[in-house]
Assembly symmetry: D2
């Protein structure tokens, strides 16, 4: 068993984007359409009529293979019919989704639903596996802060923290003592139907040097954009982040030194493993903040779609704190960014590999090719 | 019922691309991964373990909603186990797919299978519907040539040809007399297990003026790239195409004139409705050539994956001529290009609509806005 | 005078990207190449030989226009020859640039130089102008914090702060009293050759509702990625940002209400004008943190390219605090993101404008079209 | 001397695109803006005011380096003032450019000018150099047909034709005898102020196997889109192209065999070196048709921008046949596509190189890595 490539060049269009999937005898074929203007009346019949024109077995001069090719729209169509649809939940996507598309993102948020992250985590699992296989990259995230409970900076050793430690408790905090404090903090608001926010720290070990670009495509820019695309996130900081104002330049700079193995290293890592937009081989570490779940079991004032001031009380069960469940999503998005950047780096910079001396320490091993010899004597 | 937008900004990554789909309560959520390096060992279990970390109902401090989130890989994994996999079918993707990915595109062609076009046709149906709704665009393709049978240029009136006429026979040729000739030509090779190629003509009526770009994004370039991405296609020509060498410039130029309605029109349309990469409001017309189906019921020499010279006889049922079935695929790809370009045009050029005089004739109507007044007195 | 469009579809390629510019009789024609593998020996002669084959006036059967088309490489080639090139400046891009490309980013940082932002500011000026013209958008940034000096949250009224106020002092802080404190703080480190970091706040007024996307393309994700691509930035937060952990959900949610004008508004704006990745019509506000300039007038330990531990003392003149000069760059990148998102929104959602009731409040005015009538009775 | 990479991730935005260039001490810094809405009033002053805010040396607390950063708009602004601007030249971009942007592409065609191809040729020269260095790729184009003069298919040996042969005459036809015929044909129309079209053949030798993708990104699709983006081109065919209808499947299929060196080869190459969208290691060959130059020295009927029927007589000197000068542009665009695809291939498929047996014959040599050993025993 192996994952055959899903061929790249697999998305068509820039505005009205179509990604197709599936194989001749696989588990069905289909497409994902992105960017479609909203409120287009569409039924499966609209598509079926065209599919019927395409399918084989239509006549003696076509293949007589029997394929039904029955169209099924899995998602993307809706009916406005439930009560939630009638009012805008405070700090949810309901109102803005409606403002933009003129359709209520019903049924628990539509594309804005946290469930959308399932696809990210599935893809992230594959990216993690490849990064590990190629460079031994390890990506780990954990809960660093919830409400007023915050880990001391030295509570977690980035060099040695393990997945086991993180998964050893329900809030995914590698420090058992603080895990208990966080659980208590969450429980305190949970019982009264309220929620709290939190901060997740993510580290990536063994990331090869050289990932990222010096201008718009800085590695921290890619990571930041990926993290802020996670539902409920509202902040990102790489390395020392906003605390940077506590330092002067002479205090903050990461001085270089040669380690015993002959590698160029930095004594401190306030840059978070990235300098000038490019990874430097140190551990990459960043933080992401998450809002309190807006769905709470308490009455709130809001307005209805019909522009009436109304009171709203959320139904159903919600996380009193999303941070613990955000941990695997943060890891997945980090893996997707690093995988994307690793491929970009290989395409651009491994065509003529760098000289060994510079790259020896990194995960990727290089061989001295004739082409290289021709360029770098 | 209406198609809620599948939000754009819905594809993540540039090399390792992930498109997610699905909603909270829709028909499942998932992702399509493009660009993944081949031959990565992957099982559903690899993904399930991460999905389990993400899902709710894990503890008292998370939502106690019960969601199983069971991973199912629909396609993209394979096993090399059948006989076809052992030899490279002549002029199929077998060998090149293997050269590139190191995996045999088994099971009828994997991603190279003609069945992949199902996703294109489904998306094309939506694009057609929107283009019709917005501008009254009509896209029609038909079989123009098969083997030695070719329609006279004047056999089909681009202004009046209808879908009904095209669908009135099994080879999708709007001229009944030539349709019979084509059927006979196909049947002649079919009975001896051989196949023939053909040429499909596609026209688009009521395409607004102004679609396309003057440099790399010329409308004919977008259409050409789309058509050559259809399996078995090997040629594209817009307007007079390769026959252009029969003309001198003075014979070939499309002279402008003012029609009775006060529109700028061309007396001839050798440009095929596109000049300088941008649509001019005339009917867009182009041709696409298709190879004979490489799968034939005759013995052929080839080599096995083990590099042995062998004889190969295709199994199964195949189209003796793909052109008739390619017709809806050609229309669909044309619709995807025009839809993409219409959105691009609206984004760039309808922000401050052009003055009415110039645009009156086109499908899109414009209003004179205050912003416009400020710019174009 | 007006800016003729630089046609979109103006960048060719996905990995080896080429953007061309210039016109027949303009100020020269040329190209910008991105993604080129490093360390390729290249001279203008390599290009001239091909240009000479293309140019007119070569023979009687070509145009006899005289065009010299002399090749000039403006940037991108280098020589390693100065002293700085020999050692890696701490917390600069020197080392990582060298790790990635195998070339020292000499001459003040090459593409990593702060001077690269000139192109961003020039483009941002155009984006600002268009946003203002189309929707009355106003983008303003100012220095919020430097070292230990931080403005009280209520010191600046986002509704009324003006460019004049911001530009009234050399540190671009709209509060004169705090401006003096900041100047003092900067001066204190400047005199001893040290530097300090700072935080810049950016606001955008009159941003239309509906900009952004619900999934990967969330507006805050686009803004975050843009801000972290600015040299020396290392943190981004939208709305309440990392301070979000100070609130419970019931305290943090932005309740909706109907204002006197009949608009859906929020009483608070902790979301920073964006909910579910889409702008809600409130003022967009976010913060960006900047590191202390790594170039300081003090001895630092580092290593040379030859892997020797050495001491380094920066030459030249550097900003003791980059925050004030980062202000127009932050505004420019915000303008580029909003302009890009406005075009995306118009392409997707103004094809069939939303009903007036929902969109009335926003900057963009809509008319009820026949198409809309057909969809939304 | 070497070309330092122009970092990728160097283009910002998807609709309003900005590419920046230049370095700290290089030949100036700047940006290229693509996709800008047309008719925006813009002066250098609009940009200068922002640049002045950004530049150093503004005060004691900023760097006191003196940089003027004077804004210069090289192209993209215009004035409608000459006579040509008043009428639409038949089959030029004048009318469509005006329809789309509401500005006359004056001064010889603006962005539609053939001079824009200078940027393509310069970039193509670099791509050619890298392809040659990495894989020994040789890209050669030549004139195959002009008006009624057409080379016999066997007149040029794709294996041995050289640049010298092609450049040995002014029409770039490697067959001296036919070159003379072509020169005569061109001269015949030139003397009476008319023009003729032509067809250019392009071949690429030593292209590695495996370039391209199986779905939308087929190599022939990328090549086709690139060729149709060249001014005046109106047709593309790969391999047998439109002549494919002359063959049956049994006649057209390229049978595989093992050559003496143990390579998988095809006896014929009607596929043009690409099968299933992916290169197969045979010589890639395709044809591109070009219209007669629309600018002719003969009176033509057309309309003015004021919608009057008028007569037009072109001024200036023009190519009676563009094909010979299109040759280096065709080669350049082919080089840009192959370079882009090579990088895509390396990113995706060389992360874990294929086993040697399969790839031995291709230009790129592979080594068996530990990672590979782990996957392919």
């Amino acid at each position: 068993m192996g994952a055959e490539v899903k061929a790249s060049g697999n998305v068509f269009g820039n505005y009205f984007q179509v990604a197709t999937y599936g194989e001749s005898h696989g588990g069905g074929v289909g497409c994902v359409i992105s960017g479609c203007p909203p409120r287009i009346p569409l039924t499966e019949g609209d598509m079926q009529v065209e599919l019927d024109r395409r399918r084989p077995g239509q006549s003696i001069i076509t293949s007589t293979r029997k394929e039904t090719d029955t169209c099924k729209i899995l998602s993307g169509t809706h009916e406005d019919n439930n009560e939630i649809a009638k009012m805008y939940r405070p700090s949810h996507a309901d109102a803005t989704y409606d403002f933009k598309y003129g359709v209520r993102s019903v049924q628990g948020g539509g594309r804005s639903s946290g469930r959308e992250t399932i696809g990210r985590v599935a893809a992230g699992a594959l990216a993690k596996k490849i990064l590990k296989l190629k460079c031994g990259v390890e990506i780990l995230a954990f809960v660093f802060k919830v409400h007023q409970v915050v880990l001391p900076e030295d509570a977690v050793d980035y060099e040695t923290v393990t997945l086991e430690k993180i998964e050893s408790n329900i809030v995914r905090c590698p420090d058992p003592q603080y895990a208990d404090k966080i659980i208590a903090a969450v429980d305190k608001v949970r019982v009264r139907g309220d929620s709290v926010g939190g901060v997740v720290t993510c580290i990536a070990r063994n990331v090869p040097r050289g990932l990222g670009c010096p201008v718009f495509g800085k590695l921290e820019a890619e990571l930041s954009g990926a993290m802020l695309s996670i539902p409920a996130s509202n902040g990102f900081e790489i390395g020392s982040g906003f605390a940077v104002t506590d330092f002067t330049g002479s205090e903050h700079n990461d001085e270089f030194y040669m380690d015993k193995a002959g590698n160029v290293r930095t004594r401190t890592n306030r840059s978070g493993g990235i300098q000038g937009g490019i990874s430097n081989g140190e551990i990459i570490h960043f933080k992401v903040s998450f809002k309190p779940t807006p769905s709470i079991g308490m009455k709130q004032n809001t307005v209805s779609r019909e522009h009436q001031n109304v009171e709203f009380l959320a139904r159903g069960l919600h996380d009193p704190c999303v941070a613990p469940r955000a941990v695997p999503v943060v890891e997945s998005m980090a893996a997707l960014v690093l995988m994307d950047q690793l491929m970009a780096h290989i395409a651009q910079c491994e065509m003529f590999p760098l000289n060994i001396a510079l790259q020896e320490p990194v995960g990727v091993k290089y061989t001295r090719t004739p082409e290289l010899a021709a360029i770098l004597p």
